[in-house]
């Protein structure tokens, strides 16, 4: 996907791209912090047929709505598509040996073959956490792999 950037002198910047279905969408970022989400006309691709003005808060909300559930959705899709691959959500319990330690120290992928693809903390999804991502008690770790390997990760997280 190619995102095209255009300067709008005196106003700000415009980023636009064409979706797979052939619709053109753009975001106009005004210098004042205002954001416009623009959808182009099917018949006249130069014209914005819909322009929705968003303030800072609304822009943030839209980003979150579009971003966060996509990760869960992607996991579910993965799950469905590949036979034998499961994704499980594992809670880091209060007594887990890895609570308070970086995720990399579990060496989960090396030891089991399964991958930790996300950590959910306080309702927020941290996708593709880096090895130095610190795990905490109460986190939910999303693991993808075969049923055996994901179970093994569960063992590691609760018993070390």
């Amino acid at each position: 996907m190619e995102i095209e950037q255009t300067a709008l002198p005196g106003i700000g910047l415009k980023h636009e791209f064409t979706t797979q279905s052939g619709r053109r969408i753009a975001v106009v970022s005004h210098r004042s912090g205002r954001r416009d989400v623009v959808i182009y006309d099917k018949h006249d691709p130069d014209r914005a047929c819909e322009a929705v003005q968003l303030n800072d808060e609304e822009a943030d909300a839209l980003v979150e709505l579009l971003g966060a559930p996509r990760i869960v959705q992607r996991l579910n899709a993965l799950h469905r598509e590949v036979e034998g691959l499961v994704s499980v959500q594992l809670l880091i319990a209060e007594g887990s040996p890895y609570a308070g330690r970086p995720m990399g120290e579990t060496r989960a992928r090396t030891r089991t073959g399964a991958s930790i693809v996300a950590v959910v903390r306080g309702g927020q999804v941290h996708a593709s956490p880096a090895p130095d991502f610190g795990l905490m008690a109460g986190d939910v770790v999303v693991v993808v792999g075969s049923p055996e390997s994901t179970a093994a990760v569960g063992d590691i997280l609760s018993h070390g």
Partner: protein, 385 residues
């Protein structure tokens, strides 16, 4: 007693402008033509002659010009000016040639001489960036493909203004060719130096002006702009250009903040400026010029339309977008009056003021309306095709 009558007159004028502004808002047009009409109604030959406040209005009008140009300069930063100069020089030149020609030709045909021709060329050339920006925003055209083309033409015009105004000032001063050439050379050198300083050392000026306190920021920016405008006037470069260059030198977050602070001040004094121009113009003199103004308006609408279509086509925009680009460029407003005001103050032909007033009245009112009316038509044509 004197102060009391000044206040009463000024209060009446500003209040009247406020009511007119509200009307314009409701009708969806620019308030500039209504302000001009208000100026015509007051003062010389009007229905409500002013007794005491003319002096104040004259100074207020000068301030209005400085603030108009300062906020215009703040809108763009030096990078944007240079980029659009590089990318759209050809479109900008077509704009200049096509749209300066009708005014110059009209002045020559009317037998007003070459000096008036230069002034009238400016009157028909400049699109009102204020009105056009509002049209783009109101009609939801900001995201459109042709809009960057329109905006960079506006930037080009403003940069041309920085060169044109000092030349006009020198010519209007009626100096000899040799002295005039020196003045113009000084003017161009000043513009060049300021642009260079703004590009290279803008952050030092910003460091001086910047303040977390909005009051301090306002005082520093206005003070700097007035001082530079005064020096520019001394050098015969025109105060307006000085203020414009100060605006360009400031950029980024600072410029954005300063603009937000200045806009209320500018709106007040710019309105005073339009009234002042109307005051100086005898309404009885507009009627005889109405035919010429109308004709000039029609011709220069066509030339702006052609300019927009040409520039948009070069950017690969389809036919409907080309038409929109042309229409968006039609409105004329503040700077055309600023130019005519300079010419009138320098004692140009007595009919120049009324012609410019009539011309701007038509295009400031009709430009935005044309855009609004044509929008559904263009959509219909695009759908058929």
């Amino acid at each position: 007693m004197h102060t009391a009558s000044i206040f009463i007159e000024l209060g009446g004028i500003v209040l009247a402008l406020g009511v007119l502004g509200a009307l314009a808002l409701r009708a969806g047009i620019s308030p500039i033509p209504l302000y001009l009409l208000a100026g015509l109604a007051f003062g010389q030959g009007g229905i409500l002659p002013l007794a005491t406040s003319e002096d104040f209005i004259a100074v207020g009008a000068e301030l209005g010009v400085v603030l108009l140009l300062l906020t215009l300069g703040l809108e763009y930063n030096a990078d944007e000016l240079v980029t659009s100069l590089r990318g759209n020089a050809r479109g900008g030149l077509v704009d200049l040639v096509l749209n300066a020609a009708p005014g110059a030709a009209a002045a020559l045909l009317l037998g007003w001489g070459p000096v008036a021709a230069v002034a009238m060329a400016g009157v028909t050339y400049a699109t009102s960036s204020g009105i056009t920006a509002k049209v783009l925003s109101d009609l939801g055209w900001i995201g459109n493909r042709e809009t960057p083309v329109v905006l960079s033409l506006l930037v080009f015009e403003d940069l041309t203004m920085a060169l044109y105004l000092p030349i006009l000032t020198a010519i209007l001063a009626g100096v000899s060719l040799a002295v005039g050439a020196v003045t113009v050379a000084i003017a161009l050198a000043t513009v060049g130096v300021v642009l260079l300083v703004a590009l290279r050392f803008g952050r030092f000026i910003e460091a001086f002006v910047a303040s977390p306190n909005s009051e301090v920021l306002l005082l520093k920016v206005v003070g700097l702009a007035l001082a530079v405008a005064g020096v520019a006037q001394q050098l015969q470069v025109s105060a307006a250009v000085g203020a414009f260059l100060v605006g360009i030198a400031l950029s980024g977050e600072l410029a954005h903040e300063a603009r937000a602070l200045l806009i209320p001040l500018r709106d007040l004094f710019a309105a005073v400026f339009f009234v002042f121009f109307g005051l100086q113009t005898d309404p009885a003199a507009i009627l005889p010029m109405a035919g010429v103004a109308g004709l000039l308006a029609v011709v220069s609408m066509a030339t702006k339309l052609a300019t927009g279509m040409y520039a948009a086509r070069r950017a690969g925009v389809a036919r409907a977008g080309q038409a929109r680009a042309g229409i968006a460029l039609i409105p004329r407003g503040e700077f055309n009056i600023v130019i005519a005001g300079l010419a009138v103050a320098a004692g140009a032909h007595p009919d120049l003021g009324p012609l410019a007033a009539g011309y701007v009245l038509i295009l400031a009112a009709f430009g935005p309306l044309a855009a609004r009316l044509v929008q559904p038509l263009i959509a219909l044509v695009a759908r058929r095709a």
